[in-house]
């Protein structure tokens, strides 16, 4: 019964208030000497008895472009929530490189440390202009006092213009973000991600609502980012996945069902049954 469990959880004595624990930071550089930059091990997340993630184990190498697919409810978004610090798993480990325990960090620390995330639903700051959206996302000192007295430096302005150009919103930079089209918002959010200058990009459904041409350009952009960045893409659009994927992971019911190249995946009978089978 959930009541009993909840009560017990509230009374647990082994867990102190979180703010009393020392929080690790990124004082030490992220160590990726052994290959993987992101390492998820045996992670389980439970929502009211429903297992959103079930002993999920996954590792992504530095510079890789990884696609993650799976039917609805497979746990893709929850996995991203766990990596970015939004959801605390009930059990398991999540490491950034070999030395940074992501489970002990807050979202803002993870973001500052180099993991950027694009939401499934395009989320931009609608009341601010396109330019301001990018400016806010820019990697810089994000502490309270420095933002209060912040002045934009010329090279920072150049960087913003560069990204504006890249995402094709240069002529819209004075517009309020809320007035953009759905596809433009997707692009703006990718641009914001780039401004953060992250090492790992988690991209949730980047081409939803985009036209064919936009989709193509997005694919190009993501492929070009891979190598210098690690890119993890969650996507439903199989054509899109096929066009960019080198390595694909299939999630099903909260754990990894299969992993391999696109052709391997497409021929895996289990995958066909749970996922591709639906589509065919």
């Amino acid at each position: 019964m959930s009541m009993v469990r909840n009560t017990r959880e509230a009374m647990r004595r082994d867990r102190v208030f979180r703010f009393l624990e020392p929080s690790p930071d990124f004082a030490r550089p992220v160590d990726t000497s052994h290959g993987p930059i992101l390492y998820v091990e045996d992670v389980s997340v439970r929502f009211d008895g429903f297992l959103a993630l079930n002993q999920l184990t996954l590792s992504v190498d530095e510079g890789e472009l990884r696609c993650i697919i799976g039917p609805n409810g497979a746990g893709k978004t929850t996995m991203m929530d766990v990596i970015t610090g939004k959801t605390q798993p009930d059990e398991g480990k999540v490491f950034f490189g070999q030395n940074v325990d992501l489970l002990r960090l807050d979202e803002y620390e993870i973001a500052r440390g180099g993991i950027g995330r694009k939401f499934q639903k395009p989320t931009v700051f609608e009341a601010l202009t396109v330019f301001e959206n990018l400016e806010l996302s820019m990697a810089s000192d994000k502490r309270v006092w420095s933002t209060l007295f912040f002045r934009l430096r010329p090279e920072q302005r150049d960087r913003i213009d560069e990204v504006l150009d890249l995402i094709g919103l240069l002529e819209h930079h004075e517009h309020v973000a809320g007035s953009l089209s759905h596809g433009q918002k997707q692009w703006l959010e990718i641009g914001m991600l780039l401004m953060q200058n992250p090492r790992v990009l988690l991209v949730d459904e980047p081409v939803a609502g985009m036209t064919g041409e936009e989709t193509e350009r997005t694919a190009e952009l993501l492929v070009s980012l891979a190598g210098s960045h690690t890119v993890i893409v969650v996507e439903h659009d199989m054509a899109f996945v096929r066009s960019i994927a080198r390595r694909v992971t299939v999630l099903h019911q909260g754990s990894v069902l299969a992993e391999g190249s696109m052709s391997q995946i497409q021929n895996d009978p289990r995958v066909i049954e749970v996922y591709l089978g639906d589509e065919a």
Partner: protein, 616 residues
Amino acid sequence: MTSIALVSRMLGPMLAALLLLTAASHAWAEAEAATPAPEGAMPAESMPETTTDFPAVEPDPVPPPEPQESVVAAEFDELPAAAEGNAAGDGSETLDETLADDAEPAAPNVETLIRQLPEGSFNDRRAVATQLAASGDPRVPDILSALAEGRLLATADAPPRILIRAATGTGGSDAISGENVPASVISGGTRIPVHNPLRNALRSLVAVATISAPDPEQRASALLRLMRGSIDSDLLAYLDTRVEREADPRVMDLLLTVRALARLNADTPEERLAAVAVLRGSLLNDVRVGLEATVARDADPDVREAAAEALDSIQSRIELYRFTENLFFGLSAGSVLLLAAIGLAITFGVMGVINMAHGELIMIGAYTTWFIQTLIPGALSSSILLAIPAAFVVAGLVGIAMERGVIQFLYGRPLETLLATFGISLILQQAVRSLFSPLNRPVASPDWLSGSLEVNPVLALTWSRIYILVFAILVFVALLLVMKKTSLGLKVRAVAQNRPMARALGVRTGWVDALTFGLGAGIAGIAGVALSQLTNVGPNMGQAYIIDSFMVVVFGGVGNLWGTFVGAMGLGMMTKFLEPHSGAVLAKILVLIFIILFIQRRPRGLFPKKGRAAEA
């Protein structure tokens, strides 16, 4: 104190002697030969000893008027009230005996006695009054108190008519027949004279007469009064005789306690030990006082030790009962919170609507109760029962009107809803103020809701609170069933979990919202019926509950109804257990601080909604 003792010493023997004369054949005399057992807890054993002492000490059956009177007079100045109660206790017992034993044939006719009252000296009058008190006649207490207050009149007829002038007004009644008598007759009567000593003695006799009453309640209260005075050996002996005859277990218990309390001053340590053993079981305050005195002053160390131990055992039992009482108060406060918060939990939990007018819906329920009571003034019980559905409907309709008129346009904007409903709460308050009055309305309680269940002297549970606790749980269970078993409940839960999907599946979400809000409001109305029995019903009453109710919801979480239940009971308990230490206001503040700290640990309450939907 000494003078009190003296009075009892004087009155007691006199009455006891009377008793002895008339009750020679009675059972207790048979036990005379038995020696008192050290553990003399059993009445039959310890009684005879004292009784046999009786005639030896005070053999004269005729009351010695002189010393008694002087003592009474002397003491009147000092401690009238105490003396009175005490003397009354003493006398009553003996007189009662007189009556209860086979003395009745010997006793003069009550009516004759009443007619004798105007005659003779003060002392004669006292003697007659004493006999009257012993008669056990139900008319006697009134007559004697009228005499004491100078309201007893006699006409010049022969035999005289004895009249009682009413305490107020000019009317009165006939003392013997009890019929009302016109003022003209009353004004023709002459006051039967009394003086201070007699008046004092009369007051005692009134109490005696009351004790003789057949009603065990009255006997019990007389015994409780007796406990506060000191008891001499004569009286003690008389108590023994009462023990023989008492049928009511509660009065019996009191009797034994009173007797044992008196025996704490007995001569032999064995007797005192026995008394302590009896007193162990009692929770009465006077018993504790008596035992404390024994602990402090008794000559025998064993007795002191036993008394101290008895005190400890009493103390720990009292603490247990105090704890039980706090527990009950906590549950009771919790049930009030539950009633107030449960409707809020529905509207907030299901619709995400903060209804600041919730308190005013409670107020509307309370006013409905008042209104129905004024409509059918005669039938309190049925008006309360009728008020429950009525308040549900009235408050529910107001709620539905609010939802359709205002709230439906504000979904997804919880802060705006909060402000708008706050505005509605101001309007409702002012409407009630203008319509009825800014003053509180009186709401009466039926008999079965007033008074309290006395478990023992330290634990009394108010009936109204017991009923409200039961009522709150009934409402809670009913609501639980509605949510789990009915199609409305199913739809409500569906809308709460996924509004667009529910709509896509053909649930009329607008209709469900209105009904849900109406349900929450209706329950607030029901809460108002219950609260009208506990607190004042006025335009501001809702405000007292709104913050508390929100605290319950915040504490319990909006995930499910059980959260509200545990939250309400938890906060109720916490408040009531803090209150004895900190006072009510500080307890409230501490609870608020606790909640603020609590949400550090669990920002979404004890029973949060989980899952992706809750994260959005």
